[in-house]
C-alpha cells in the first residue's frame, strides 16, 4: 500500500471539489474492494475522499412512482427495503446472493457498481494484464479462464464484471446520477454505464475523475415475476459463473440480463423479442450469446446460460406469472 492522504467530505459538492483539486484522488465508500486493491498496489490513489457522510443514504420515492437510491445506501439496507422487496424483487434477490452478510453491511450502492473484476491475473501483479498495466498483454487469454467472459470480450481482455446488483439494475433499466465539481449533473442509463473492454480494458466506465455518483434511480415498478438465479461452484460466498436476472410477464414478454458472461451486465434486445414471440431458452440464449467467443476453459458457460435461462423460465411459469 502506498501512503495516501485522506479526507472526509460532508457534501456531494465538497467531495467532487476535492476530487478535482487533488490529482490521483479516489472516493471511498465501504472500502471492501478499494482497500484490498490498494494493499496489493493495484490501485494507488494519492488521496482518498470518504463519501460516507454525504447524506446519500436514503431511499426515496420519485414523483413518477420510481425509487431513488442514494449512492451510499448499504447493500443490506437496499435489499431489505420493503418497496424494493415488493416491487423490485429481482434487485433484492440479486443483492442477497452476493458476497456475505458482513460485506453487504459495508458495501455501498455506488461502490458495488464500480467494483473491479475478479480476474486472478488482474490480482497478481507479477502477471500480464492489460487492465492493470495497459499493453502488457492478457494473462487469462492464454491461461486459466474458467471464470471469464464469453461475450463482448476483446483480444485485449476477457474479464467479467462481478457485480450481482448491477445485473438486476440492468434488467430494471436503472439510471445512474452523478455530479461534478463544476456542478454539472447527468443521468447515465445503466446500459451505457459500464464499457466493453475493447482496446482499453483499463477504462471500465466514462465517469470523469471528479464525477461522483449520487444516486441510482429505478423507473416505476413493472410487475411481472422477478427472479435472480446465480450459478456457482459452492452454495454461498462465491462469484457467479453465470447469473440470470429476469422479469417475466404473463403475456410472455420478459426482460433478461446475464451476469458472469461479459465485462458488463449483458442484455440483448433481439433476445427479448425472441422471448415475446414465444421463443424458448435455446433460441433466446442463442440470441443473447450471438457472437460469443468462449475459451476452451469457459465453453461450458454457453450451455450453462441456456440451461439457467430454462430454469428461470420454468420457475417463472410455476410461480404463475
Amino acid at each position: 500500500m502506498k501512503s495516501f492522504s485522506y479526507e472526509r467530505a460532508d457534501s456531494p459538492a465538497a467531495a467532487a471539489a476535492a476530487a478535482a483539486r487533488v490529482p490521483g484522488a479516489k472516493f471511498i465508500g465501504g472500502g471492501t474492494n478499494l482497500l484490498d486493491l490498494m494493499k496489493l498496489q493495484i490501485e494507488t490513489p494519492a488521496h482518498l475522499i470518504d463519501v460516507n457522510d454525504l447524506g446519500l443514504d436514503e431511499i426515496e420515492s420519485t414523483d413518477d412512482g420510481g425509487l431513488r437510491i442514494g449512492a451510499g445506501v448499504r447493500n443490506t439496507d437496499l435489499a431489505a427495503d420493503p418497496r424494493v422487496r415488493n416491487d423490485y424483487a429481482v434487485l433484492t434477490r440479486a443483492l442477497v446472493s452476493g458476497a456475505s452478510g458482513q460485506l453487504r453491511n459495508q458495501a455501498t450502492t455506488a461502490g458495488n457498481l464500480l467494483q473491479r473484476t475478479r480476474c486472478p491475473y488482474f490480482y497478481d501483479t507479477n502477471q500480464r494484464c492489460n487492465k492493470r498495466r495497459p499493453g502488457s498483454g492478457c494473462g487469462a487469454l492464454a491461461g486459466v479462464s474458467r471464470q471469464h467472459a464469453i461475450v463482448g470480450s476483446s483480444d485485449a481482455c476477457i474479464a467479467t464484471h462481478p457485480s450481482d446488483m448491477a445485473v438486476a439494475l440492468r434488467c430494471l433499466d436503472a439510471k445512474v446520477s452523478t455530479v461534478r465539481s463544476d456542478g454539472t449533473r447527468r443521468e447515465i442509463p445503466i446500459e451505457a454505464f459500464h464499457r466493453l473492454p475493447g482496446d482499453t480494458p483499463e477504462r471500465e466506465h466514462d465517469l470523469a475523475a471528479d464525477e461522483l455518483i449520487t444516486a441510482v434511480t429505478l423507473p416505476p415498478p413493472v410487475g411481472g415475476t422477478q427472479l435472480y438465479r446465480k450459478v456457482r461452484d459452492r452454495a454461498s460466498y462465491a462469484f457467479a459463473l453465470v447469473s440470470v436476472a429476469a422479469i417475466v410477464h404473463r403475456d410472455g414478454r420478459a426482460q433478461v440480463a446475464l451476469g458472469g458472461v461479459a465485462h458488463k451486465p449483458w442484455r440483448v434486445e433481439t433476445a427479448e423479442r425472441e422471448l415475446a414471440r414465444g421463443g424458448d431458452a435455446r433460441t433466446t440464449a442463442a440470441a443473447l450469446l450471438a457472437g460469443a467467443r468462449p475459451t476452451r476453459d469457459n465453453a461450458y458457460k454457453v450451455t450453462l446460460v441456456e440451461r439457467t435461462l430454462a430454469a428461470v423460465l420454468a420457475q417463472a411459469r410455476e410461480s404463475g406469472s
Binding site: 491461461g143 486459466v144 452454495a235 461450458y300
Partner: protein, 761 residues
C-alpha cells in the same frame, strides 16, 4: 517404556476420564481470543520488527539483477535479506526446494527477499519498491504432458515400495468375465488452513535462536532450522503452543520461520513474519494432483480376481510421489494384484503431505472404480465391498494358517516371508452394515437418475474408508506438585485436534485426579520430544507417551507412600492411592516436594506382526440441479472403527471436519495450473474455494466399539485422517447415482456435468 506385546488390562481401562466427551480444556482460551497464536505474540520479546516476504515473479529461471536501493531508502526499513546477503545456507532434510531462492528460481513465489521494517505497512511498501529483473527459463508445468516421462520413484515418503505384484495380474484380468479399466484424476489441493504460516524470531547475545511459530512437528523443525542455518541443534528453541490448523501444511520448516530468523539476524532485533494468503499456495506445499489407472477383473458372482492400481504424479526434482495406491494393497481381496507409483519431474511448487496423503486421493479414485464394477456386476456397492472383504493383508499370497499363527510362535517366525499378516482389527464389514442401516441405504435406487424432487436429481453414494495406523516414539514429562496438580509437558502440538484435552484425560486417568487438576503444556522444543501431529499418529502415540511417563510417576508416588508399585490391586483413583488393604491421599506423596517423571513410549514389532489400520464407511446423499448441474450435499454419515476413541467429542470434530474437506475435494477444491506461466493461478481464498457452512447441511459420525491392544497401552488408533479417506468418492458416487453422469475427474464441478449429458427432463 517398551511396548512390544499386546496390551493387557491397565489403568486406562477404568475409563473414568478417558473415553468421555470432555470439552476442550483450551476451549475458553480460543473462544475468548486469548490463546497466543504465533502472530499474536507481541509480548514474548520486546522491540519486534516486521518482515514482508517477496515471492519470485517467475516459475523457473534466474534472478538477473536485484536493485535494493529504493527499498532500502523507504521509510522505516531496517534490513533486506536476500540469498546474496543471507550467508551460506544448507537445506532442511524435509525441504525439496530452497526456502530462500536466488539467483536460481525453482518455483513461482519461492521467497527471494525479506524486507524488514518498523511496521508491517512499511515493510510491505518497501517490498513493492524492490526492482528485480528475472531471466526466465522454460519449465515443465503440465502433469498430463509429464506423464510419459515418469519413472519409478526411489523414495515414497512412507517408506513403502513403489511397486508390488502378486500372482499374475495381466493374465487373471484378461480372463475375468467382468472387467473395469478406467482412469481417474485428482486435483492439486491447498491446505488452506485458517491461520497462515507465522513466526517471531529472536537471537540472544550467545547466538541462541528462539522461535515462536505455528508448526505441527517441533523436533523436525528445530532440526531442519539448525541444519539450514548450520548451527548446533541446541542453539534453536521452537515454541508452537497454539496452531490454527495445519493439515500437513505446517509439518516442515517453511519460509516464514527461516526468514524471520535471517531477518532478525540482519536487523539485530526480533522479527515477525507471516505469509500472506496469496503467497501460501505457491510458496508452501500442496497436495499433488494424480492420474490414476485402475483395472479390476471380477467373476460373475462378484469376487475380485484381479486388481491393479497405478498412479502418476509429479514433483520438483528430488521430490516424492503422491502414494495414491497404498490402500489398494490392503483393502480388498483378490488373488492377482499389482500396484505401481510413477513420478515425473516438473517445475511447479513442491508437493508434500496434505491430510491423509496417498489415501485421500487414492480412495477418491479406487472407490469410484469399486462403484463402477459393482454396477457392471449388478451387485449393490455395499454388498460388493462386503463380499470382497479380507481378514489378511491380500498383498501377502500365502493362505491363512491359524495353527502356525498361534501366540506360541516366536515373533521372528511370524515374520517369515510368505506368511499371512492379519489385521490387528478390521471391522470394515460392520462399518458398512451399520452405516447402510443408519443412513437408510435401502431407499437408494440402483438405477441412476431415477429419483427426482422438482428440478433436483437425488442420489446416494457409499465408499470405504481406510487409513493406516502409524506407531512412532513419543516422550513426555509429568509432575505432581504439592497441591496435587498434575502438569504434563511434551513437545506435542495441538493443531485444533484436541491434543491438550486427550493428554489431560490420559494423565487424569493414570493419576486418579479430575480433569480440572491437570495442566498440559505443549509445543516447546525444551520439552521431551513427542511424535508430533501428522499422519493421524498424534492421538495414540502422544497419549501413550504420557501413559509411559505417568507409569513412572505412579511408581515414585507408590514408593513415597510405601505401596508396592507392582501390587496387582494398586489403584489411583478419586485423589487417592489404594490397595485392598490400605489407602492414602495422593497429595501426601508430595508433602515434601514435587515428584517428576519422564519416559517415552517405544514400539517393538507389533506393527510388523499385525497390519494396523483404521476402517470406515462413508455415505452421502446429494441433490443435483438438473438444469445447472450444481451439486449440493444433503447428508453425510461416516461410521468408523479406529480403536479406542479417547474423546468422542473431539474425535467427532475430526471426522466431520475431514468429511467437510472430502466434500471440498469432491466438488470444488482445485489449484488451477497455468501450464504456460507455471503457477497455481487461484492462489487466495476468493479463487480457491473450500466448502462454506451452506455447503454442509447435515453430518453424522458413528464410532464402533473397538479396542486395539496391538496399537499401544491406550488401545487407540488415529481418526483425524480416516474421516477424509473415501469421503470424496461417496459424494462422487452419489452424484452418479443422482444423474447417471459418471465424472472421473475431480473436482466434480458443474461444467463436467452439463457438458457430459446431464439431462434436464
Amino acid at each position: 517404556m517398551k511396548f512390544d506385546e499386546p496390551a493387557g488390562t491397565n489403568p486406562i481401562d477404568q475409563l473414568k476420564v478417558v473415553g468421555r466427551p470432555a470439552d476442550r480444556i483450551d476451549g475458553p482460551l480460543k473462544t475468548t481470543g486469548t490463546a497466543p497464536y504465533a502472530h499474536d505474540r507481541h509480548d514474548v520479546v520486546q522491540n519486534q520488527a516486521y518482515g514482508y516476504v517477496v515471492g519470485a515473479a517467475i516459475a523457473k529461471g534466474r534472478i538477473a539483477s536485484m536493485n535494493l536501493e529504493a527499498a532500502r531508502a523507504a521509510p522505516g526499513v531496517l534490513a533486506i535479506v536476500t540469498a546474496d546477503s543471507a550467508g551460506r545456507l544448507d537445506q532442511g532434510e524435509r525441504n525439496t526446494a530452497r526456502l530462500l531462492g536466488g539467483p536460481e528460481i525453482q518455483h513461482y513465489h519461492q521467497a527471494v527477499a525479506l524486507v524488514v521494517a518498523e511496521t508491517f505497512e512499511q515493510a510491505r511498501d518497501a517490498a513493492h519498491r524492490l526492482k528485480i529483473r528475472y531471466a526466465p527459463a522454460k519449465g515443465r508445468f503440465d502433469l498430463e504432458a509429464a506423464r510419459d516421462t515418469a519413472t519409478i520413484p526411489e523414495k515414497t515418503g512412507s517408506g513403502d515400495p513403489a511397486e508390488t505384484a502378486v500372482g499374475d495380474f495381466e493374465g487373471a484380468f484378461r480372463d475375468s468375465p467382468v472387467q473395469l479399466d478406467q482412469t481417474y484424476r485428482t486435483a492439486y489441493e491447498s491446505h488452506s488452513m485458517m491461520e497462515p504460516h507465522a513466526s517471531v524470531a529472536a537471537w540472544d547475545a550467545d547466538g541462541q535462536l528462539t522461535l515462536w511459530t505455528s508448526n505441527q512437528m517441533i523436533a523436525w523443525t528445530a532440526q531442519d532450522m539448525a541444519k539450514t542455518l548450520r548451527i548446533p541443534r541446541d542453539k534453536v528453541r521452537v515454541m508452537s503452543p497454539y496452531i490454527g490448523g495445519g493439515f500437513g501444511g505446517k509439518l516442515f520448516l517453511r519460509a516464514d520461520v527461516l526468514l524471520a530468523a535471517l531477518g532478525a539476524r540482519a536487523a539485530k532485533r526480533p522479527v515477525k513474519v507471516s505469509l500472506t494468503r496469496a503467497l501460501m499456495p505457491n510458496n508452501t506445499t500442496h497436495r499433488p494432483a494424480t492420474i490414476q489407472r485402475i483395472r479390476i477383473g471380477a467373476q460373475r458372482d462378484g469376487h475380485i480376481t484381479a486388481i491393479a492400481h497405478e498412479s502418476w504424479s509429479a514433483d520438483l526434482p528430488g521430490g516424492g510421489p503422491e502414494t495414491a495406491v497404498l490402500q489398494t494393497r490392503a483393502l480388498y481381496a483378490g488373488a492377482h494384484r499389482m500396484t505401481a507409483l510413477r513420478l515425473a519431474e516438473h517445475d511447479l511448487p513442491e508437493g508434500n503431505a496434505m491430510r491423509a496423503p496417498g489415501e485421500a486421493p487414492g480412495l477418491a479414485a479406487l472407490e469410484i472404480a469399486i462403484d463402477e464394477i459393482s454396477e457392471k456386476l449388478g451387485i449393490d456397492p455395499v454388498a460388493f465391498r462386503i463380499l470382497n472383504d479380507t481378514q489378511v493383508v491380500p498383498d501377502n499370497p500365502a493362505p491363512p494358517d491359524p495353527d502356525k499363527n498361534s501366540d506360541q510362535t516366536a515373533p521372528e517366525a511370524r515374520l517369515d516371508a510368505g506368511r499371512p499378516r492379519r489385521f490387528s482389527q478390521r471391522q470394515l464389514v460392520r462399518c458398512l452394515e451399520t452405516g447402510a442401516e443408519r443412513f437408510g441405504w435401502k431407499r437408494r435406487r440402483s438405477k441412476p437418475g431415477s429419483v427426482r424432487a422438482g428440478h433436483w436429481l437425488v442420489g446416494m453414494g457409499v465408499a470405504a474408508a481406510f487409513r493406516n495406523n502409524l506407531l512412532t516414539k513419543s516422550a513426555a514429562r509429568v509432575r505432581l506438585d504439592r497441591r496435587g496438580r498434575v502438569t504434563v509437558e511434551t513437545d506435542m502440538t495441538d493443531i485444533g485436534t484436541g491434543s491438550y484435552t486427550i493428554l489431560a484425560q490420559t494423565a487424569a486417568e493414570m493419576m486418579g485426579v479430575p480433569l480440572s487438576q491437570v495442566d498440559v503444556r505443549l509445543g516447546d522444543s525444551s520439552f521431551p520430544a513427542s511424535c508430533g501431529s501428522g499422519g493421524q499418529w498424534g492421538g495414540n502415540n502422544s497419549t501413550a507417551g504420557v501413559y509411559a511417563a505417568c507409569t513412572q510417576l505412579r511408581r515414585l508416588v507408590a514408593a513415597r507412600l510405601g505401596f508396592d508399585a507392582d501390587a496387582s490391586d494398586l489403584a489411583f483413583s478419586d485423589g487417592e492411592v489404594r490397595t485392598a488393604s490400605r489407602s492414602a491421599p495422593l497429595m501426601l506423596a508430595t508433602r515434601d516436594g514435587p515428584l517428576e517423571a519422564e519416559d517415552a513410549i517405544e514400539y517393538g514389532d507389533l506393527d510388523e506382526r499385525f497390519q494396523q489400520s483404521t476402517f470406515g464407511a462413508h455415505f452421502a446423499e446429494v441433490r443435483v440441479d438438473a438444469y445447472t448441474g450444481e451439486v449440493r450435499v444433503q447428508r453425510q454419515l461416516a461410521v468408523c472403527a479406529a480403536g479406542r476413541i479417547l474423546n468422542p467429542k473431539t474425535a467427532r470434530s475430526q471426522i466431520i471436519g475431514a468429511m467437510t474437506m472430502g466434500v471440498g475435494a469432491a466438488l470444488m477444491e482445485s489449484l488451477h495450473v497455468d501450464t504456460g506461466v507455471g503457477f497455481f493461478v487461484n492462489h487466495d481464498l476468493a479463487g480457491y474455494e473450500i466448502p462454506v457452512h451452506a455447503d454442509i447441511p447435515h453430518q453424522d459420525a458413528i464410532f464402533l466399539d473397538e479396542v486395539d491392544p496391538m496399537s499401544s497401552p491406550m488401545k487407540a488408533k488415529g481418526v483425524a485422517e480416516l474421516g477424509i479417506c473415501g469421503a470424496a468418492a461417496a459424494v462422487a458416487n452419489a452424484v452418479y447415482n443422482a444423474t447417471g453422469v459418471r465424472v472421473r475427474h475431480y473436482p466434480l464441478t458443474l461444467d463436467k456435468l452439463v457438458q457430459n449429458g446431464l439431462a434436464i427432463a
